[in-house]
Protein backbone atom coordinates (compact mmCIF):
# COMPACT_ATOMS: atom_id res chain seq x y z
CA UNK A 1 0.00 0.00 0.00
CA UNK A 2 2.69 2.48 1.02
CA UNK A 3 4.72 1.34 -1.92
CA UNK A 4 1.82 2.25 -4.18
CA UNK A 5 1.39 5.70 -2.61
CA UNK A 6 5.12 6.29 -2.81
CA UNK A 7 5.24 5.32 -6.47
CA UNK A 8 2.24 7.49 -7.24
CA UNK A 9 3.96 10.41 -5.51
CA UNK A 10 7.06 9.85 -7.59
CA UNK A 11 4.97 10.20 -10.75
CA UNK A 12 3.19 13.31 -9.48
CA UNK A 13 6.28 15.30 -8.61
CA UNK A 14 7.75 15.43 -12.14
CA UNK A 15 4.32 16.32 -13.53
CA UNK A 16 4.02 19.11 -11.00
CA UNK A 17 7.49 20.36 -11.86
CA UNK A 18 6.71 20.21 -15.57
CA UNK A 19 3.42 22.06 -15.17
CA UNK A 20 5.07 24.83 -13.22
CA UNK A 21 7.79 25.03 -15.87
CA UNK A 22 5.23 25.13 -18.66
CA UNK A 23 3.47 28.04 -16.96
CA UNK A 24 6.78 29.88 -16.69
CA UNK A 25 8.14 29.24 -20.18
CA UNK A 26 4.74 29.49 -21.81
CA UNK A 27 4.47 33.05 -20.60
CA UNK A 28 8.02 33.97 -21.55
CA UNK A 29 7.94 32.51 -25.07
CA UNK A 30 4.75 34.35 -25.95
CA UNK A 31 5.06 37.55 -27.88
CA UNK A 32 4.36 40.61 -25.78
CA UNK A 33 6.20 42.16 -22.87
CA UNK A 34 4.62 41.63 -19.43
CA UNK A 35 5.89 45.07 -18.45
CA UNK A 36 4.12 46.66 -21.42
CA UNK A 37 1.05 44.52 -20.78
CA UNK A 38 0.96 45.79 -17.23
CA UNK A 39 1.59 49.45 -17.85
CA UNK A 40 -0.56 49.69 -20.95
CA UNK A 41 0.40 50.72 -24.47
CA UNK A 42 0.84 54.37 -23.57
CA UNK A 43 3.64 53.83 -21.06
CA UNK A 44 6.91 55.66 -21.60
CA UNK A 45 9.92 53.50 -22.54
CA UNK A 46 11.66 54.62 -19.35
CA UNK A 47 8.81 53.40 -17.17
CA UNK A 48 8.74 50.08 -19.00
CA UNK A 49 12.49 49.71 -18.56
CA UNK A 50 12.23 50.49 -14.84
CA UNK A 51 9.49 47.92 -14.40
CA UNK A 52 11.43 45.32 -16.37
CA UNK A 53 14.34 45.88 -14.01
CA UNK A 54 12.07 45.61 -10.98
CA UNK A 55 10.45 42.40 -12.24
CA UNK A 56 13.84 40.90 -12.98
CA UNK A 57 12.99 40.55 -16.67
CA UNK A 58 16.45 41.77 -17.68
CA UNK A 59 18.14 38.81 -16.00
CA UNK A 60 19.06 35.83 -18.16
CA UNK A 61 16.17 33.38 -18.59
CA UNK A 62 17.72 30.54 -16.57
CA UNK A 63 18.31 32.89 -13.62
CA UNK A 64 14.69 34.02 -13.71
CA UNK A 65 13.59 30.40 -13.91
CA UNK A 66 15.66 29.33 -10.92
CA UNK A 67 14.46 32.29 -8.88
CA UNK A 68 10.86 31.43 -9.84
CA UNK A 69 11.27 27.79 -8.81
CA UNK A 70 12.91 28.76 -5.55
CA UNK A 71 10.09 31.17 -4.75
CA UNK A 72 7.42 28.57 -5.46
CA UNK A 73 9.06 26.01 -3.19
CA UNK A 74 8.83 28.62 -0.44
CA UNK A 75 5.20 29.37 -1.42
CA UNK A 76 6.29 32.90 -2.28
CA UNK A 77 4.57 34.26 -5.38
CA UNK A 78 5.93 37.79 -5.10
CA UNK A 79 3.95 40.95 -4.43
CA UNK A 80 0.87 42.27 -6.14
CA UNK A 81 1.69 45.11 -8.52
CA UNK A 82 -1.44 46.96 -7.56
CA UNK A 83 -1.77 46.64 -3.80
CA UNK A 84 1.81 45.66 -2.96
CA UNK A 85 0.45 42.88 -0.74
CA UNK A 86 2.05 39.47 -0.71
CA UNK A 87 0.41 37.29 -3.34
CA UNK A 88 0.60 34.18 -1.14
CA UNK A 89 -1.35 35.92 1.61
CA UNK A 90 -4.05 36.93 -0.88
CA UNK A 91 -4.17 33.43 -2.36
CA UNK A 92 -4.53 31.69 0.97
CA UNK A 93 -7.09 34.19 2.17
CA UNK A 94 -9.52 33.32 -0.63
CA UNK A 95 -8.59 29.69 -1.26
CA UNK A 96 -11.06 28.33 1.35
CA UNK A 97 -13.93 30.10 -0.45
CA UNK A 98 -13.11 28.31 -3.69
CA UNK A 99 -12.70 25.01 -1.85
CA UNK A 100 -16.10 25.45 -0.19
CA UNK A 101 -17.76 26.16 -3.48
CA UNK A 102 -16.10 23.18 -5.18
CA UNK A 103 -16.87 20.90 -2.24
CA UNK A 104 -20.57 21.75 -2.22
CA UNK A 105 -20.55 21.48 -6.00
CA UNK A 106 -19.21 17.92 -5.76
CA UNK A 107 -21.86 17.06 -3.15
CA UNK A 108 -24.66 18.39 -5.36
CA UNK A 109 -23.13 16.61 -8.33
CA UNK A 110 -23.16 13.25 -6.53
CA UNK A 111 -26.52 13.68 -4.84
CA UNK A 112 -28.15 14.48 -8.18
CA UNK A 113 -26.00 12.42 -10.52
CA UNK A 114 -25.67 9.04 -8.79
CA UNK A 115 -29.39 8.31 -8.19
CA UNK A 116 -30.28 9.44 -11.71
CA UNK A 117 -27.54 7.23 -13.12
CA UNK A 118 -28.87 4.25 -11.17
CA UNK A 119 -32.44 4.88 -12.33
CA UNK A 120 -31.22 5.27 -15.89
CA UNK A 121 -29.31 1.98 -15.76
CA UNK A 122 -32.15 0.03 -14.14
CA UNK A 123 -34.65 1.38 -16.67
CA UNK A 124 -32.27 1.10 -19.60
CA UNK A 125 -33.67 1.65 -23.07
CA UNK A 126 -36.99 2.90 -21.75
CA UNK A 127 -38.44 6.37 -22.15
CA UNK A 128 -37.15 7.37 -18.72
CA UNK A 129 -33.62 6.30 -19.65
CA UNK A 130 -33.70 8.16 -22.96
CA UNK A 131 -35.06 11.26 -21.28
CA UNK A 132 -32.40 11.21 -18.55
CA UNK A 133 -29.64 10.65 -21.09
CA UNK A 134 -30.86 13.58 -23.14
CA UNK A 135 -30.89 15.77 -20.02
CA UNK A 136 -27.33 14.70 -19.27
CA UNK A 137 -26.28 15.75 -22.78
CA UNK A 138 -27.72 19.18 -22.09
CA UNK A 139 -25.71 19.27 -18.86
CA UNK A 140 -22.54 18.51 -20.82
CA UNK A 141 -23.31 21.24 -23.36
CA UNK A 142 -23.99 24.23 -21.14
CA UNK A 143 -20.97 26.28 -20.08
CA UNK A 144 -21.04 27.11 -16.34
CA UNK A 145 -21.24 30.86 -16.88
CA UNK A 146 -24.41 30.50 -18.91
CA UNK A 147 -26.05 28.14 -16.43
CA UNK A 148 -25.09 30.58 -13.68
CA UNK A 149 -26.84 33.44 -15.51
CA UNK A 150 -29.92 31.32 -16.12
CA UNK A 151 -29.96 30.28 -12.44
CA UNK A 152 -29.79 33.91 -11.33
CA UNK A 153 -32.59 34.73 -13.75
CA UNK A 154 -34.80 31.93 -12.54
CA UNK A 155 -34.14 31.75 -8.79
CA UNK A 156 -33.04 35.27 -7.89
CA UNK A 157 -34.86 37.57 -10.27
CA UNK A 158 -38.05 35.74 -11.24
CA UNK A 159 -38.67 33.75 -8.06
CA UNK A 160 -36.49 35.62 -5.55
CA UNK A 161 -35.71 32.49 -3.54
CA UNK A 162 -31.92 32.75 -3.45
CA UNK A 163 -29.58 35.74 -3.37
CA UNK A 164 -27.70 36.40 -6.60
CA UNK A 165 -24.47 37.79 -5.17
CA UNK A 166 -22.25 37.94 -2.10
CA UNK A 167 -21.37 35.42 0.60
CA UNK A 168 -23.65 36.20 3.53
CA UNK A 169 -22.76 36.30 7.21
CA UNK A 170 -22.90 33.62 9.86
CA UNK A 171 -22.64 29.93 9.17
CA UNK A 172 -26.19 29.12 8.04
CA UNK A 173 -26.54 32.30 6.04
CA UNK A 174 -23.26 31.55 4.27
CA UNK A 175 -24.53 28.13 3.26
CA UNK A 176 -27.73 29.77 2.03
CA UNK A 177 -25.66 32.06 -0.19
CA UNK A 178 -23.61 29.10 -1.35
CA UNK A 179 -26.56 27.06 -2.63
CA UNK A 180 -27.13 28.70 -6.00
CA UNK A 181 -23.48 28.91 -7.13
CA UNK A 182 -22.64 25.40 -5.96
CA UNK A 183 -25.81 24.08 -7.58
CA UNK A 184 -24.57 25.63 -10.84
CA UNK A 185 -21.34 23.65 -10.65
CA UNK A 186 -23.09 20.60 -9.24
CA UNK A 187 -25.67 20.36 -12.01
CA UNK A 188 -22.93 20.41 -14.64
CA UNK A 189 -20.91 17.81 -12.74
CA UNK A 190 -23.99 15.64 -12.21
CA UNK A 191 -24.28 15.14 -15.97
CA UNK A 192 -20.96 13.31 -16.18
CA UNK A 193 -21.48 11.56 -12.84
CA UNK A 194 -24.81 10.28 -14.11
CA UNK A 195 -23.37 8.97 -17.37
CA UNK A 196 -20.53 7.31 -15.51
CA UNK A 197 -22.79 5.72 -12.92
CA UNK A 198 -25.06 4.41 -15.65
CA UNK A 199 -22.34 2.78 -17.73
CA UNK A 200 -20.45 1.36 -14.77
CA UNK A 201 -23.69 -0.05 -13.35
CA UNK A 202 -24.52 -1.70 -16.67
CA UNK A 203 -21.02 -3.22 -16.75
CA UNK A 204 -21.55 -4.58 -13.27
CA UNK A 205 -25.03 -5.98 -13.92
CA UNK A 206 -23.65 -8.16 -16.70
CA UNK A 207 -21.02 -9.76 -14.46
CA UNK A 208 -21.20 -13.46 -13.67
CA UNK A 209 -21.49 -13.09 -9.92
CA UNK A 210 -24.57 -10.90 -10.32
CA UNK A 211 -26.14 -13.47 -12.58
CA UNK A 212 -25.37 -16.04 -9.88
CA UNK A 213 -27.04 -13.85 -7.31
CA UNK A 214 -30.16 -13.53 -9.48
CA UNK A 215 -30.13 -17.26 -10.11
CA UNK A 216 -29.95 -17.99 -6.43
CA UNK A 217 -33.21 -16.12 -6.09
CA UNK A 218 -31.92 -13.23 -4.00
CA UNK A 219 -34.53 -10.44 -4.05
CA UNK A 220 -33.92 -7.75 -6.67
CA UNK A 221 -33.42 -4.92 -4.20
CA UNK A 222 -30.83 -6.86 -2.27
CA UNK A 223 -28.86 -7.69 -5.41
CA UNK A 224 -28.88 -4.06 -6.49
CA UNK A 225 -27.97 -2.55 -3.14
CA UNK A 226 -25.62 -5.18 -1.81
CA UNK A 227 -23.79 -6.28 -4.91
CA UNK A 228 -24.18 -3.97 -7.86
CA UNK A 229 -24.11 -0.60 -6.16
CA UNK A 230 -20.98 -1.20 -4.14
CA UNK A 231 -18.93 -1.97 -7.19
CA UNK A 232 -20.61 0.67 -9.30
CA UNK A 233 -19.55 3.53 -7.08
CA UNK A 234 -15.85 2.73 -7.28
CA UNK A 235 -15.31 4.10 -10.80
CA UNK A 236 -17.52 7.06 -9.98
CA UNK A 237 -14.86 8.23 -7.53
CA UNK A 238 -12.44 8.58 -10.42
CA UNK A 239 -14.79 10.63 -12.52
CA UNK A 240 -14.69 13.33 -9.87
CA UNK A 241 -10.92 13.33 -10.05
CA UNK A 242 -11.05 13.52 -13.83
CA UNK A 243 -13.52 16.39 -13.67
CA UNK A 244 -11.39 18.37 -11.24
CA UNK A 245 -9.90 20.71 -13.85
CA UNK A 246 -13.34 21.33 -15.27
CA UNK A 247 -14.77 21.82 -11.80
CA UNK A 248 -12.18 24.41 -10.87
CA UNK A 249 -12.65 26.22 -14.19
CA UNK A 250 -16.34 26.22 -13.44
CA UNK A 251 -15.70 27.59 -9.97
CA UNK A 252 -13.59 30.41 -11.42
CA UNK A 253 -16.29 31.71 -13.67
CA UNK A 254 -19.15 30.94 -11.29
CA UNK A 255 -17.48 33.03 -8.60
CA UNK A 256 -17.24 36.00 -10.87
CA UNK A 257 -20.88 35.72 -11.93
CA UNK A 258 -22.16 35.46 -8.37
CA UNK A 259 -19.67 38.12 -7.18
CA UNK A 260 -18.18 35.80 -4.59
CA UNK A 261 -14.60 36.04 -3.33
CA UNK A 262 -12.30 33.20 -4.33
CA UNK A 263 -9.39 32.25 -6.53
CA UNK A 264 -11.44 32.81 -9.65
CA UNK A 265 -12.55 36.30 -8.71
CA UNK A 266 -8.99 37.08 -7.68
CA UNK A 267 -7.67 35.86 -11.04
CA UNK A 268 -10.29 37.73 -13.03
CA UNK A 269 -9.73 40.87 -10.98
CA UNK A 270 -6.01 40.50 -11.66
CA UNK A 271 -6.72 40.33 -15.38
CA UNK A 272 -8.59 43.61 -15.47
CA UNK A 273 -5.84 45.33 -13.50
CA UNK A 274 -3.08 43.46 -15.37
CA UNK A 275 -1.68 42.23 -12.06
CA UNK A 276 0.69 39.61 -13.40
CA UNK A 277 2.13 38.05 -10.21
CA UNK A 278 -1.34 37.48 -8.75
CA UNK A 279 -2.48 35.80 -11.95
CA UNK A 280 0.60 33.61 -12.09
CA UNK A 281 0.10 32.64 -8.45
CA UNK A 282 -3.54 31.69 -9.06
CA UNK A 283 -2.57 29.53 -12.02
CA UNK A 284 0.18 27.70 -10.14
CA UNK A 285 -2.08 27.14 -7.13
CA UNK A 286 -4.86 25.81 -9.37
CA UNK A 287 -2.51 23.39 -11.10
CA UNK A 288 -1.17 22.16 -7.77
CA UNK A 289 -4.69 21.78 -6.37
CA UNK A 290 -5.73 19.70 -9.39
CA UNK A 291 -2.74 17.43 -9.03
CA UNK A 292 -3.18 16.97 -5.28
CA UNK A 293 -6.84 16.06 -5.77
CA UNK A 294 -5.94 13.58 -8.50
CA UNK A 295 -3.36 12.05 -6.20
CA UNK A 296 -5.87 11.75 -3.37
CA UNK A 297 -8.45 10.23 -5.71
CA UNK A 298 -5.95 7.65 -6.92
CA UNK A 299 -4.97 6.74 -3.39
CA UNK A 300 -8.54 6.49 -2.13
CA UNK A 301 -9.37 4.48 -5.22
CA UNK A 302 -6.68 1.97 -4.42
CA UNK A 303 -7.98 1.71 -0.86
CA UNK A 304 -11.56 1.04 -2.00
CA UNK A 305 -10.54 -1.25 -4.81
CA UNK A 306 -7.53 -3.41 -3.94
CA UNK A 307 -7.63 -5.06 -7.37
CA UNK A 308 -5.97 -2.17 -9.17
CA UNK A 309 -3.15 -1.66 -6.69
CA UNK A 310 -0.42 -3.70 -8.41
CA UNK A 311 -0.75 -1.81 -11.70
Amino acid sequence: MFKFIFRRLLVTLPTMFLTISIIFFGLRILPGDPAVAMLGDNATPAAVEALREEMGLNEPLWKQYLAYLGDIVQADFGESFISGESVSAQLFAVFPDTLNLTFFGIIFGCVIGIPLGIISALKRNTKIDNFLRFISIIGLSVPPFLLGIYMILAFSLKMAIFPSMGTGEGFLNQIYYLILPSLTIGLILSASVMRYTRSSMLDEINQDYIRTAWAKGIPEKLVIYKHVLRNTLIPVVTVIGLQMTGLLSGAVITESIFSRPGLGSLAIGAITTRDFPVLQGCLVLFAIAVMVVNLLVDISYSIINPRIRPS
Binding site: T19, P143, L202, I253, F276
Partner: protein
Protein backbone atom coordinates in the same frame (compact mmCIF):
# COMPACT_ATOMS: atom_id res chain seq x y z
CA UNK B 1 5.00 -19.83 -48.79
CA UNK B 2 4.83 -18.33 -45.35
CA UNK B 3 5.39 -14.87 -46.75
CA UNK B 4 2.66 -15.36 -49.27
CA UNK B 5 0.07 -16.25 -46.66
CA UNK B 6 1.08 -13.22 -44.69
CA UNK B 7 0.72 -11.02 -47.75
CA UNK B 8 -2.64 -12.61 -48.42
CA UNK B 9 -3.74 -11.92 -44.87
CA UNK B 10 -2.66 -8.31 -45.09
CA UNK B 11 -4.46 -7.91 -48.37
CA UNK B 12 -7.56 -9.48 -46.91
CA UNK B 13 -7.47 -7.08 -44.05
CA UNK B 14 -7.07 -4.16 -46.42
CA UNK B 15 -10.01 -5.46 -48.39
CA UNK B 16 -12.06 -5.62 -45.23
CA UNK B 17 -11.02 -2.10 -44.36
CA UNK B 18 -11.78 -0.76 -47.80
CA UNK B 19 -14.94 -2.73 -48.19
CA UNK B 20 -17.58 -0.23 -49.15
CA UNK B 21 -20.31 -2.41 -47.68
CA UNK B 22 -18.92 -1.89 -44.21
CA UNK B 23 -18.75 1.87 -44.68
CA UNK B 24 -22.32 2.01 -45.83
CA UNK B 25 -23.31 -0.14 -42.87
CA UNK B 26 -21.76 2.43 -40.56
CA UNK B 27 -23.51 5.24 -42.40
CA UNK B 28 -26.78 3.32 -42.14
CA UNK B 29 -26.22 2.87 -38.41
CA UNK B 30 -25.65 6.60 -38.10
CA UNK B 31 -28.72 7.39 -40.18
CA UNK B 32 -30.73 5.01 -38.04
CA UNK B 33 -30.01 7.23 -35.05
CA UNK B 34 -32.84 9.74 -35.30
CA UNK B 35 -31.57 12.16 -32.68
CA UNK B 36 -28.11 12.13 -34.23
CA UNK B 37 -29.55 12.91 -37.65
CA UNK B 38 -31.64 15.80 -36.32
CA UNK B 39 -28.53 17.19 -34.62
CA UNK B 40 -26.55 16.82 -37.84
CA UNK B 41 -29.21 18.76 -39.75
CA UNK B 42 -29.20 21.49 -37.11
CA UNK B 43 -25.44 21.81 -37.54
CA UNK B 44 -25.70 21.84 -41.33
CA UNK B 45 -28.30 24.60 -41.21
CA UNK B 46 -26.30 26.64 -38.68
CA UNK B 47 -23.16 26.23 -40.80
CA UNK B 48 -24.94 27.38 -43.93
CA UNK B 49 -26.35 30.36 -42.05
CA UNK B 50 -22.90 31.16 -40.71
CA UNK B 51 -21.27 31.00 -44.13
CA UNK B 52 -24.06 32.93 -45.83
CA UNK B 53 -24.47 35.39 -42.94
CA UNK B 54 -24.49 38.54 -45.13
CA UNK B 55 -27.32 37.06 -47.21
CA UNK B 56 -29.33 35.57 -44.35
CA UNK B 57 -29.06 38.24 -41.66
CA UNK B 58 -31.85 40.82 -41.89
CA UNK B 59 -29.63 43.71 -40.73
CA UNK B 60 -25.98 44.65 -40.56
CA UNK B 61 -24.77 43.29 -37.18
CA UNK B 62 -22.89 46.45 -36.23
CA UNK B 63 -25.26 49.22 -37.35
CA UNK B 64 -26.34 51.10 -34.27
CA UNK B 65 -29.79 52.60 -33.97
CA UNK B 66 -29.90 54.45 -30.69
CA UNK B 67 -33.57 55.43 -30.97
CA UNK B 68 -34.62 51.78 -31.18
CA UNK B 69 -32.37 50.45 -28.44
CA UNK B 70 -33.37 47.53 -26.19
CA UNK B 71 -36.60 46.90 -28.06
CA UNK B 72 -38.52 43.68 -27.52
CA UNK B 73 -39.30 41.20 -30.28
CA UNK B 74 -41.26 42.71 -33.16
CA UNK B 75 -41.95 42.02 -36.81
CA UNK B 76 -38.96 44.22 -37.76
CA UNK B 77 -36.56 42.85 -35.16
CA UNK B 78 -37.53 39.23 -34.50
CA UNK B 79 -35.40 38.90 -31.39
CA UNK B 80 -35.39 42.59 -30.50
CA UNK B 81 -32.43 44.97 -30.34
CA UNK B 82 -29.52 45.31 -27.90
CA UNK B 83 -28.25 48.24 -25.84
CA UNK B 84 -26.92 50.01 -28.95
CA UNK B 85 -30.02 49.26 -30.99
CA UNK B 86 -28.31 46.54 -33.04
CA UNK B 87 -30.48 43.70 -34.32
CA UNK B 88 -30.02 40.68 -32.01
CA UNK B 89 -30.93 38.04 -34.60
CA UNK B 90 -28.37 39.38 -37.08
CA UNK B 91 -25.72 39.44 -34.38
CA UNK B 92 -26.51 35.85 -33.42
CA UNK B 93 -26.16 34.78 -37.07
CA UNK B 94 -22.84 36.61 -37.42
CA UNK B 95 -21.82 35.23 -34.01
CA UNK B 96 -22.29 31.70 -35.37
CA UNK B 97 -19.67 32.61 -37.95
CA UNK B 98 -17.03 33.49 -35.38
CA UNK B 99 -17.83 30.66 -32.99
CA UNK B 100 -17.86 27.99 -35.69
CA UNK B 101 -14.72 29.38 -37.34
CA UNK B 102 -12.75 29.38 -34.09
CA UNK B 103 -14.15 25.94 -33.21
CA UNK B 104 -13.44 24.30 -36.56
CA UNK B 105 -9.90 25.64 -36.91
CA UNK B 106 -8.81 24.85 -33.36
CA UNK B 107 -10.42 21.40 -33.35
CA UNK B 108 -8.89 20.55 -36.74
CA UNK B 109 -5.44 21.70 -35.63
CA UNK B 110 -5.59 19.97 -32.24
CA UNK B 111 -6.95 16.72 -33.67
CA UNK B 112 -4.37 16.49 -36.46
CA UNK B 113 -1.40 17.43 -34.29
CA UNK B 114 -2.69 15.48 -31.27
CA UNK B 115 -3.30 12.32 -33.26
CA UNK B 116 0.11 12.57 -34.90
CA UNK B 117 1.77 12.91 -31.49
CA UNK B 118 -0.34 10.14 -29.95
CA UNK B 119 0.26 7.70 -32.80
CA UNK B 120 4.00 8.28 -32.79
CA UNK B 121 4.17 8.02 -28.98
CA UNK B 122 2.07 4.85 -28.94
CA UNK B 123 3.91 3.21 -31.80
CA UNK B 124 7.45 4.11 -30.76
CA UNK B 125 6.93 3.61 -27.03
CA UNK B 126 9.87 3.88 -24.67
CA UNK B 127 11.36 7.15 -23.48
CA UNK B 128 9.82 9.27 -26.23
CA UNK B 129 6.38 8.04 -25.19
CA UNK B 130 7.09 8.77 -21.52
CA UNK B 131 8.30 12.30 -22.18
CA UNK B 132 5.49 13.24 -24.57
CA UNK B 133 2.82 11.87 -22.27
CA UNK B 134 4.22 13.60 -19.18
CA UNK B 135 4.27 16.95 -20.99
CA UNK B 136 0.70 16.51 -22.22
CA UNK B 137 -0.44 15.41 -18.76
CA UNK B 138 1.04 18.59 -17.34
CA UNK B 139 -0.86 20.71 -19.84
CA UNK B 140 -4.01 18.85 -18.88
CA UNK B 141 -3.70 19.79 -15.23
CA UNK B 142 -3.96 23.49 -16.04
CA UNK B 143 -7.63 24.35 -16.41
CA UNK B 144 -8.10 25.34 -20.06
CA UNK B 145 -10.04 28.43 -19.11
CA UNK B 146 -7.29 29.72 -16.83
CA UNK B 147 -4.59 28.86 -19.31
CA UNK B 148 -6.59 30.88 -21.81
CA UNK B 149 -7.00 33.80 -19.43
CA UNK B 150 -3.31 33.98 -18.74
CA UNK B 151 -2.12 33.62 -22.32
CA UNK B 152 -4.66 36.11 -23.63
CA UNK B 153 -3.64 38.64 -21.00
CA UNK B 154 0.05 38.17 -21.77
CA UNK B 155 -0.18 38.05 -25.55
CA UNK B 156 -3.19 40.26 -26.10
CA UNK B 157 -6.68 39.24 -27.11
CA UNK B 158 -7.03 38.33 -30.74
CA UNK B 159 -8.46 35.47 -32.74
CA UNK B 160 -5.06 33.85 -33.41
CA UNK B 161 -4.10 33.65 -29.73
CA UNK B 162 -7.57 32.36 -28.96
CA UNK B 163 -7.25 29.57 -31.53
CA UNK B 164 -3.76 28.77 -30.24
CA UNK B 165 -4.97 28.47 -26.64
CA UNK B 166 -7.91 26.23 -27.49
CA UNK B 167 -5.72 24.06 -29.74
CA UNK B 168 -3.13 23.55 -27.01
CA UNK B 169 -5.85 22.85 -24.46
CA UNK B 170 -7.51 20.17 -26.57
CA UNK B 171 -4.26 18.51 -27.71
CA UNK B 172 -3.67 16.24 -24.71
CA UNK B 173 -6.93 14.31 -24.87
CA UNK B 174 -6.56 13.80 -28.64
CA UNK B 175 -3.04 12.47 -28.15
CA UNK B 176 -4.09 10.16 -25.32
CA UNK B 177 -6.93 8.66 -27.31
CA UNK B 178 -4.76 8.18 -30.41
CA UNK B 179 -2.06 6.62 -28.27
CA UNK B 180 -4.50 4.18 -26.67
CA UNK B 181 -5.91 3.05 -30.01
CA UNK B 182 -2.42 2.78 -31.48
CA UNK B 183 -1.30 0.55 -28.62
CA UNK B 184 -4.21 -1.78 -29.41
CA UNK B 185 -3.66 -1.83 -33.15
CA UNK B 186 0.11 -2.20 -32.83
CA UNK B 187 -0.28 -5.71 -31.44
CA UNK B 188 -2.54 -6.84 -34.29
CA UNK B 189 -1.18 -9.39 -36.74
CA UNK B 190 -1.41 -7.22 -39.83
CA UNK B 191 0.87 -4.63 -38.28
CA UNK B 192 3.35 -7.30 -37.25
CA UNK B 193 3.15 -8.68 -40.76
CA UNK B 194 3.83 -5.27 -42.22
CA UNK B 195 6.83 -4.84 -39.91
CA UNK B 196 8.20 -8.22 -40.87
CA UNK B 197 7.85 -7.27 -44.53
CA UNK B 198 10.09 -4.32 -43.88
CA UNK B 199 7.63 -1.43 -43.97
CA UNK B 200 9.02 1.74 -42.41
CA UNK B 201 7.54 3.52 -39.43
CA UNK B 202 5.87 6.26 -41.44
CA UNK B 203 4.34 3.79 -43.85
CA UNK B 204 2.94 1.65 -41.06
CA UNK B 205 1.58 4.68 -39.23
CA UNK B 206 -0.14 6.06 -42.32
CA UNK B 207 -1.42 2.97 -44.07
CA UNK B 208 -2.07 0.59 -41.19
CA UNK B 209 -2.57 2.50 -37.95
CA UNK B 210 -4.25 5.65 -39.24
CA UNK B 211 -7.27 3.90 -40.83
CA UNK B 212 -7.88 2.15 -37.54
CA UNK B 213 -7.80 5.25 -35.36
CA UNK B 214 -9.85 7.33 -37.80
CA UNK B 215 -13.15 6.53 -36.14
CA UNK B 216 -11.99 7.82 -32.76
CA UNK B 217 -10.61 10.85 -34.62
CA UNK B 218 -14.08 11.68 -35.93
CA UNK B 219 -15.80 11.08 -32.60
CA UNK B 220 -13.38 13.13 -30.54
CA UNK B 221 -13.43 15.97 -33.08
CA UNK B 222 -17.20 16.24 -32.83
CA UNK B 223 -17.12 16.18 -29.04
CA UNK B 224 -14.27 18.70 -28.93
CA UNK B 225 -16.27 21.15 -31.01
CA UNK B 226 -18.51 21.54 -27.97
CA UNK B 227 -15.54 22.25 -25.70
CA UNK B 228 -14.02 24.70 -28.18
CA UNK B 229 -17.24 26.63 -28.60
CA UNK B 230 -17.85 26.68 -24.85
CA UNK B 231 -14.33 27.91 -24.04
CA UNK B 232 -14.49 30.54 -26.77
CA UNK B 233 -17.79 31.78 -25.36
CA UNK B 234 -16.50 31.76 -21.77
CA UNK B 235 -13.39 33.73 -22.70
CA UNK B 236 -15.35 36.18 -24.81
CA UNK B 237 -17.82 36.53 -21.94
CA UNK B 238 -14.92 37.57 -19.71
CA UNK B 239 -13.96 40.12 -22.35
CA UNK B 240 -10.77 38.29 -23.33
CA UNK B 241 -11.83 36.48 -26.47
CA UNK B 242 -12.98 38.08 -29.67
CA UNK B 243 -13.16 41.83 -29.11
CA UNK B 244 -16.27 43.94 -29.76
CA UNK B 245 -17.79 45.08 -32.02
CA UNK B 246 -17.31 41.69 -33.75
CA UNK B 247 -20.30 39.67 -32.61
CA UNK B 248 -19.78 36.36 -30.83
CA UNK B 249 -22.27 34.60 -28.60
CA UNK B 250 -19.93 35.04 -25.64
CA UNK B 251 -19.53 38.80 -25.90
CA UNK B 252 -23.24 39.25 -26.66
CA UNK B 253 -23.98 37.51 -23.35
CA UNK B 254 -21.36 39.72 -21.69
CA UNK B 255 -23.09 42.83 -23.07
CA UNK B 256 -26.47 41.53 -21.94
CA UNK B 257 -25.46 40.35 -18.47
CA UNK B 258 -25.53 43.78 -16.73
CA UNK B 259 -29.09 44.26 -18.02
CA UNK B 260 -30.25 40.78 -17.09
CA UNK B 261 -32.73 42.09 -14.53
CA UNK B 262 -34.48 44.45 -16.93
CA UNK B 263 -33.94 42.79 -20.30
CA UNK B 264 -33.11 39.07 -19.83
CA UNK B 265 -33.66 38.36 -23.53
CA UNK B 266 -30.27 39.92 -24.36
CA UNK B 267 -28.51 37.13 -22.43
CA UNK B 268 -31.03 34.37 -23.13
CA UNK B 269 -31.09 34.33 -26.94
CA UNK B 270 -27.35 34.12 -27.64
CA UNK B 271 -27.12 31.59 -24.80
CA UNK B 272 -29.78 29.43 -26.43
CA UNK B 273 -27.92 29.56 -29.75
CA UNK B 274 -24.78 28.41 -27.97
CA UNK B 275 -26.57 25.59 -26.14
CA UNK B 276 -28.34 24.33 -29.27
CA UNK B 277 -25.11 24.14 -31.24
CA UNK B 278 -23.10 22.49 -28.48
CA UNK B 279 -25.85 19.96 -27.74
CA UNK B 280 -25.93 19.14 -31.45
CA UNK B 281 -22.19 18.53 -31.56
CA UNK B 282 -22.42 16.29 -28.50
CA UNK B 283 -25.30 14.31 -30.01
CA UNK B 284 -23.52 13.91 -33.36
CA UNK B 285 -20.40 12.77 -31.49
CA UNK B 286 -22.40 10.20 -29.54
CA UNK B 287 -24.18 8.97 -32.66
CA UNK B 288 -20.85 8.68 -34.49
CA UNK B 289 -19.43 6.65 -31.64
CA UNK B 290 -22.39 4.32 -31.65
CA UNK B 291 -22.21 3.90 -35.41
CA UNK B 292 -18.45 3.47 -35.71
CA UNK B 293 -17.91 1.25 -32.73
CA UNK B 294 -20.50 -1.53 -32.69
CA UNK B 295 -18.73 -3.04 -29.69
CA UNK B 296 -19.49 -0.02 -27.51
CA UNK B 297 -23.07 0.36 -28.65
CA UNK B 298 -23.75 -3.32 -28.06
CA UNK B 299 -22.32 -3.06 -24.58
CA UNK B 300 -24.47 -0.02 -23.87
CA UNK B 301 -27.59 -1.97 -24.60
Amino acid sequence: MMERTIIKEVEDLNVIKKNSKRKSAEWAAFRGNKIGMIALWVLIIVSIMAIAAPLVAPYDPNTQDVINRMKSSSSEHWLGTDIYGRDVLSRIIYGARTSMLVGVISVALSSVIGFAIGMIAGYKGGKLDDILMRVLESIQTIPLLLLGLMVLVAAGSNIYTLILVITVGLLPSCARIARGSTLDVKEKEFVKAAISMGSGTIRILISHILPNVLSSFLVISALHMTSAIMVEASLSFLGLGIQPPTATWGNMIMDGFPHVATKPALAIYPGLALIIVSISFNLVGDALRDALDPHISKKRK
